[in-house]
């Protein structure tokens, strides 16, 4: 399976700076989105550090450090390991100076290897799968309200209005050690992956996102329209969306390329 991806991030309308970060690697099949937090510029630092560490890890020898979880594939373990390292890096930087104290970041990352999709996340940035005209959330937010909803303390509507919507129960870089939530999935030709921060998911409903993605001409147009939509609805936080198209190389694709070459 191959992956074509594009992503876009926007400061939003309220915030003074953009603390979101993302990274795409189509060849590797890697998509990462991070939403930093902390005072001044430290949120930006945290998300940037986490994303760059995950990038560096996958550009390096990708050695699995520590003991792997046997219930997941090697690729998924690598993803988990990269996030562990990112956590360590962010945590150590946060401890190193008062300027960075308390900084942290959410992270959501997917890795496509063959037909297997590895998903890892910490915090409330989300991954969605769009397949056959429907959209499914692949990740469970690590947030207080999500926990409350899960335990039926409050309804989803109450949760959306909650004062504590922003309180996370888990974040990268807050503790010296953390394990990401890992998951695996078998993808099919034509699947679309959507990774976004809460700046998007809080502003736009899932169904609207689905409509925008399916009606868009291409990835970048979809990203564009999604960010516009979020800003139209208030743009209270930084907005980041990453869309990944999963497709299978057809046997005649080489021929098509050849033809295209002549058409030019």
């Amino acid at each position: 399976m191959n992956l074509t991806a594009c992503g876009k991030t926007d400061q939003g309308l309220v915030r003074a700076n953009n603390e979101d970060n993302f990274y795409l690697d189509e060849k590797m099949g890697l998509l990462v989105v991070a939403d930093g937090m902390g005072g001044h510029a430290s949120g930006e630092k945290a998300s940037g550090l986490a994303v760059s560490l995950i990038r560096d890890y996958f550009q390096g020898p990708q050695k699995i450090i520590g003991s792997p979880d046997p219930s997941f594939s090697e690729a998924t373990n690598r993803l988990g390991c990269a996030i562990r390292l990112a956590n360590q890096a962010v945590y150590e930087v946060a401890q190193s100076s008062p300027q960075f104290k308390g900084m942290g970041t959410t992270i959501v990352a997917v890795l496509l290897t063959g037909r297997k999709l590895s998903i890892a996340h910490i915090g409330d940035s989300r991954a969605y799968l769009i397949r056959a005209g429907s959209i499914d959330q692949l990740t469970d937010d690590h947030s207080m309200v999500q926990e409350q909803v899960k335990r039926n303390l409050i309804t989803q509507e109450e949760a959306d209005r909650s004062e504590m919507k922003n309180i996370l129960t888990k974040a990268l870089g807050i503790q010296p050690e953390i394990e990401a939530d890992l998951d695996e999935l078998t993808v099919m030709d034509g699947d679309i992956l959507l990774l976004c921060t809460d700046g998007f998911s809080n502003m736009v409903t899932d169904d609207d996102a689905l409509d925008m993605i399916s009606s868009a001409q291409n990835g970048s147009a979809a990203c564009e329209s999604m960010i516009d939509a979020a800003n139209r609805n208030g743009g209270k936080d930084n907005i980041t969306v990453v869309i990944g198209y999963v497709w299978k190389e057809k046997w005649y694709s080489a021929l098509m390329k050849f033809m295209e070459f002549f058409r030019r």
């Binding site: 001044h40 520590g66 360590q88 308390g102 409350q148 899960k150 335990r151």
Partner: protein
């Protein structure tokens, strides 16, 4: 229960393989291991040695005898006289351990015999021979043919010759001596080898008399040739026995083959024969089998009809010379078995026994006799094999199943104890009962198994350690690179420093970091990096760079440090204390919920105050103004509160972009330490404190201020006993100022259900929180618990707390009712005002 790991499974397999290997060698009796076992046998045998009590004596043809009686072989007449002497001493049985397998070759005797034959057979031709003695006379006599005197002379000569023949005929002398007493046992010697295939074809009657037919299948040692004594001796002897001694593979004699199979006839050993004769038994009375029995004697034998010899010491031993010269009293030999044997160097074969070296074969024979007569045997009992197998199995299971599960130290101790118990048991059985149990194989299994398993484990942990080290190196490299990419060069250096600098790739990383430092004009740092690389030898151009940078950097470093020093000096001289507003900041007291707390001083009225500052770091830039506004509003509201149980706020202000709040400096501690089980307060004191807080809350609520963060840490007990509630409204400032993406919340143990649900809260929420504090002060436990924030929240909103009287049975019912009412989930069911609570509490005391 420990988890069973992969390495343990391989330990099981290893243990079982070792056990099977041991069993295999054990059943195979593999040579090298048998040698080890023999060593152990000898060790144990030496513990068994006692002094001999059997009626046996050895007369040794030793160096002394040879020195005095002439070179060996002595004339057989010598031996005959000894035999006769011993017979006169009334010795019961004489064992003559000297083989006379040929007739005595005596030149003189041959000559004499020839003479006799010639005189007797042919008198005429014999004449000249006879005349040789006195030639002229006899020639004349023969010529004259005078029969009478001639015959007379001839007969005299013949007689004399016969006399000398008799004297010279040692064989006959000895044969006579042997047959005279009928108590001499003579030796047979066998050449061991595969059986000839013949069956007793031409054995003489004497040999037949001294052998028995095997009963059933016989596994005695076979011989291919026999060296018997000459028939003259054999016919007169009381018995014949073989004197073959077979040593084990290591050259030590441990057993005696009681029978040798020659041409399907079993010949008893010399010692057995002597014993039989001594005890007046006949060879034919012997019954073969697992034990060789005769009369009441029972000799345990194992393979090849061999008997294990238990070697004893102090077998009476006399020099031949001394006996011949009658230096030894005859009583010594009376009614005993006396063995005449060679022991001089170069004559007899010397044997090695488990307890001694250079043992003459006579002593070995004497030992066998001693064993048989005293019934003192070393045996391999029937159960020995079973026991050995069981112990091998047990030890094998121990090695396979137990050692992998216990610590190396403990397993060493247990193994040692097992080994000692096993060795002691086998030694005891051997020394006390003569039971030979092969100790070697189980002991070896235990030792080798322990060493193999433990060393394997050691190697594995080493490998694990190596892997973890490799892991951490890899982690450090990754993190270092990442930090470097983010421009956090110092942290990157920290990480790289933890990697082995000898590694070329690490050197490369460090080198690049050094270049980065240079680019940032942090020359001293760059030098530090290059010097770190230089520890592991030269690399690229680092030496040049170090040289260049130190000269370039020195001035800078100097400048920097100089400036710093000067700055400090100025501060000290002028003694300017930093100020916040009109307050001098004396020192930092700690960090609170919203920011740092300082000890301040109001210089005008010389009053010490606590100054709380608002931390801006956690607040987004665009929200700072709003937060500050709220801070001042809350502080203003709280500042209006004037109640003996509320911390007084003197002043708020802003200076150097820091918002601060000056308040009453409290000398005391908060309630947090009284919630521990070990220092709970008495109930009246708790009532006093809580009712004070309740009245403070009542006052604040009446003024429209909700505390929102009632918890033990916010309730102060001053040293004079006063109760003060701190931080009114601050929680609200901080909670609503959180950034859109908030930080992870602390444990909300004191939150009310409506707070958790995110609803609007009023004073009754504070009373719920106070209820949690009261519950904790009384019982030392929180009413709501949960292993995660989510569970805790769930418990606060839905589950009822454990009844407090279960935790503190002495608590009055009235108090329990108050606690219950405070912790009601329904707002309406709680106390509606702090005053109502305070009244109820105080009523309890009455």
């Amino acid at each position: 229960m420990k988890k069973i790991t992969k390495s343990m499974i391989s330990d099981y397999i290893l243990g079982v393989v070792l056990m099977l290997l041991t069993l295999f060698f054990f059943l195979l009796s593999w040579g090298p291991l048998e040698t080890l076992e023999n060593g152990l046998y000898d060790l144990r045998a030496s513990l068994r040695v006692t002094s001999s009590k059997a009626p046996v004596a050895v007369i040794a043809v030793d160096e002394q005898s040879i020195a005095n009686l002439g070179r060996w072989p002595w004339p057989r007449a010598h031996i005959a006289s000894m035999v006769e002497l011993l017979q006169s001493y009334q010795v019961k049985v004489i064992g003559l351990d000297i083989i006379y397998s040929e007739k005595d070759v005596n030149q003189g005797l041959v000559e004499v015999r020839n003479l006799i034959r010639s005189i007797e057979g042919e008198p005429e031709p014999a004449e000249p021979q006879a005349a040789e003695a006195n030639p002229p006379a006899s020639r004349k006599a023969a010529a004259q043919s005078r029969p009478d005197p001639k015959k007379q002379a001839l007969s005299d000569v013949l007689t004399a010759l016969k006399e000398s023949e008799k004297r010279l005929d040692n064989d006959t002398i000895l044969a006579n001596a042997i047959s005279a007493g009928k108590n001499v046992v003579l030796p047979l010697f066998f050449v061991p080898g595969p059986p000839t295939g013949r069956t007793a074809s031409n054995l003489s009657p004497d040999l037949l008399r001294n052998s028995i037919s095997p009963a059933g299948v016989d596994d005695s040692i076979t011989a291919r040739a026999m060296v018997p004594p000459i028939p003259e001796f054999a016919s007169g002897a009381l018995g014949l026995g073989h004197i073959n001694i077979f040593s084990d593979a290591d050259g030590t004699v441990r057993s005696e083959p009681l029978f040798i199979n020659f041409e399907e006839k079993l010949f008893p050993s010399f010692a057995l024969q002597l014993t039989l004769k001594y005890l007046n038994y006949d060879l034919k009375q012997i019954r073969l089998g697992k034990n060789i029995t005769f009369g009441r004697k029972k000799i345990p034998v194992y393979e090849n009809n061999r008997m294990l010899i238990s070697f004893n010491e102090r077998i009476p031993y006399y020099s031949y010379f001394d006996v011949v010269n009658k230096k030894i009293a005859p009583d010594v030999f009376k009614d005993k078995i006396v063995i005449i044997a060679l022991s001089a160097a170069g004559l007899g074969t010397m044997q090695v026994t488990p307890v001694a070296v250079n043992v003459p074969s006579g002593t070995v024979i004497a030992n066998v006799i001693d064993n048989i007569i005293n019934g003192d045997h070393i045996t391999r009992p029937d159960w020995a094999l079973t026991l050995e197998l069981i112990v091998i199995l047990l030890f094998g299971l121990y090695v396979a199943l137990v050692i992998p599960h216990i610590k190396a130290g403990i397993s060493a101790a247990v193994s040692l104890v097992l080994l000692l118990v096993w060795m002691t048991a086998t030694i005891y059985l051997f020394a006390a009962y003569g039971y030979w149990v092969k100790a070697m194989y189980p002991a070896l299994l235990l030792l080798v198994g322990y060493i193999v398993i433990v060393s394997k484990r050691y190697l594995l942990t080493e490998k694990d350690k190596d892997r973890m080290e490799a892991d951490s190196v890899e982690t450090n490299k990754m993190l270092g690179l990442s930090f470097q990419g983010q421009g956090l060069l110092d942290m990157a250096f920290d990480k790289f420093r933890k990697c082995p600098v000898e590694d070329e790739s690490v050197k490369d990383l460090l080198y690049n970091l050094g270049l980065d430092f240079e680019r940032k004009r942090m020359f001293n740092k760059a030098v530090a990096v290059y010097q770190h690389i230089a520890q592991a030898g030269d690399f690229k151009d680092i030496n040049d760079r170090i040289k260049k940078l130190t000269t370039a950097g020195e001035t800078m470093i100097f400048g920097l440090s100089g400036a710093k020093k000067e700055a400090t000096v100025i501060m000290e001289n002028t003694e300017v204390k930093p100020t916040l507003g009109r307050y001098e900041v004396v020192k930092e007291l700690g960090r609170g919920a919203m920011g740092t707390v300082f000890l301040g001083k109001d210089p005008r009225i010389n009053r010490e105050v606590a100054i709380k500052t608002l931390r801006y770091e956690e607040i987004d830039a665009e929200q700072i103004d709003e937060v500050k506004k709220r801070f001042f509003r809350e502080a203003e509201a709280a500042g209006r509160l004037s109640h003996p149980n509320i911390v007084t706020i003197y002043d708020v202000g802003e200076d150097y972009d820091i918002a601060y709040m000056a308040m009453e400096l409290l000398d005391g501690s908060d309630l947090a330490k009284y919630t521990k089980k070990e220092n709970l307060l008495p109930v009246p004191e708790i009532v006093r404190i809580v009712s004070a807080v309740a009245s403070a809350l009542d006052y604040a609520h009446a003024n429209g201020i909700v505390h929102r963060d009632i918890k033990p840490a916010n309730i102060m007990i001053l040293n004079n006993g006063e109760v003060k509630v701190a931080d009114f409204g601050i929680a609200r400032v901080m909670a609503t100022s959180k950034t859109q993406t908030g930080v992870v919340l602390g444990t909300p143990s004191y939150m009310s259900p409506e707070q958790i649900a995110g609803k609007k809260v009023d004073g009754r929420s504070d009373l719920f929180s106070l209820g949690v504090v009261l519950y904790e002060l009384i019982s030392g436990e929180k009413p709501f618990n949960g292993d995660s924030i989510a569970t805790l929240m769930y418990n606060i909103t839905t589950t009822a707390p454990q009844a407090i009287q279960e935790l503190s049975p002495d608590l009055p019912d009235a108090m329990a009712r108050i606690v219950e009412k405070l912790l009601a989930k329904d707002v309406e069911a709680r106390y509606q005002t702090g005053k109502a609570l305070a009244d109820d509490l105080l009523a309890c005391l009455k």
